[in-house]
Symmetry: C2
């Protein structure tokens, strides 16, 4: 009877312990599976944002070439055919930026907005409200819904506080 | 005796079955863990390549604007100050591309290489070896070690097989 009893108890302990281990192991598995899914989802999102960052880096780096082109165009030229060729380049550059999701920021005449404007100076203004952008010094750009580069602007001020630029 | 015997067998079966399930469950867990690590490693690599792709997309899209600029410059201008301004833009564009890892492909005088040249025509050539690039029609670009855009070229051929372009 004793042998039988201890044998039964032994088997019973084993079964209980094994059931516990099995439950625990199943729990660990499910937890790992959930972690796995989370990491997979997070990484898919990060993949998209890495692609976006790559575009952003390249576009931001090329804006100074566009600035130089715009400065050249602003000076004008008597050589109309050559000037027209450069105008075509400029238009194609802007069209391509637009297709890539890059749009210029409106500045002149707008209320100064620190989220997209960078004030480089103030100047006295009689005809516009103080706090309005009087002039744009360097064009600003948005990339989708984010800021690619702020516009550098001169802000209208009351005459006594104006600091001219440059 | 019969009850005891069947009781022992029952517990024994349970234990064996549970041990089997536990082993299997541990095995599944380890397999999932290995998969997890593989996916994590692969995704880290893909993150870097997504960034690279984003850059690549933006740069490739902007090459036609550079082509237009180069065509305008090739025509020349009598308005030297304006022309110089456009030359400065061009130089800045090329410098920026170089900084981003984009370099022009050498074509003229090189052996035709289908990995970086796209033949748009052939023309008779007496002074160069047939199979040599006689002229470049559109510049090609490399992005790091990969091809961004092949150079479009006219290849020197024996007079009897030449097909002029355009």
């Amino acid at each position: 009877m004793e042998t039988e009893g201890s044998g039964d108890r032994l088997a019973g302990d084993d079964v209980e312990e094994l059931r516990g281990s099995l439950g625990e192991q199943q729990h660990r598995y499910l937890r790992l599976l959930a972690d796995f899914e989370n990491v997979r989802r997070r990484m898919a999102r990060e993949h998209e944002s890495a692609r976006h960052e790559g575009r952003r880096d390249a576009l931001l780096a090329l804006l100074p070439a566009l600035d130089t082109l715009e400065r050249a165009l602003a000076a004008g030229s008597a050589d109309t055919p050559f000037y027209e060729g450069v105008v075509a380049t400029h238009r194609l550059f802007l069209d391509t930026l637009r297709e890539l999701g890059v749009e210029p920021i409106q500045s002149e005449g707008q209320s100064f907005d620190p989220n997209q404007h960078e004030a480089v100076a103030t100047e006295p203004a009689d005809d516009v409200e103080p706090g309005t952008v009087a002039r744009e010094v360097r064009r600003g750009w948005r990339f989708g819904r984010e800021l690619l580069r702020p516009a550098q602007v001169v802000v209208a001020a009351r005459p006594e506080v104006a600091e001219p630029w440059p």
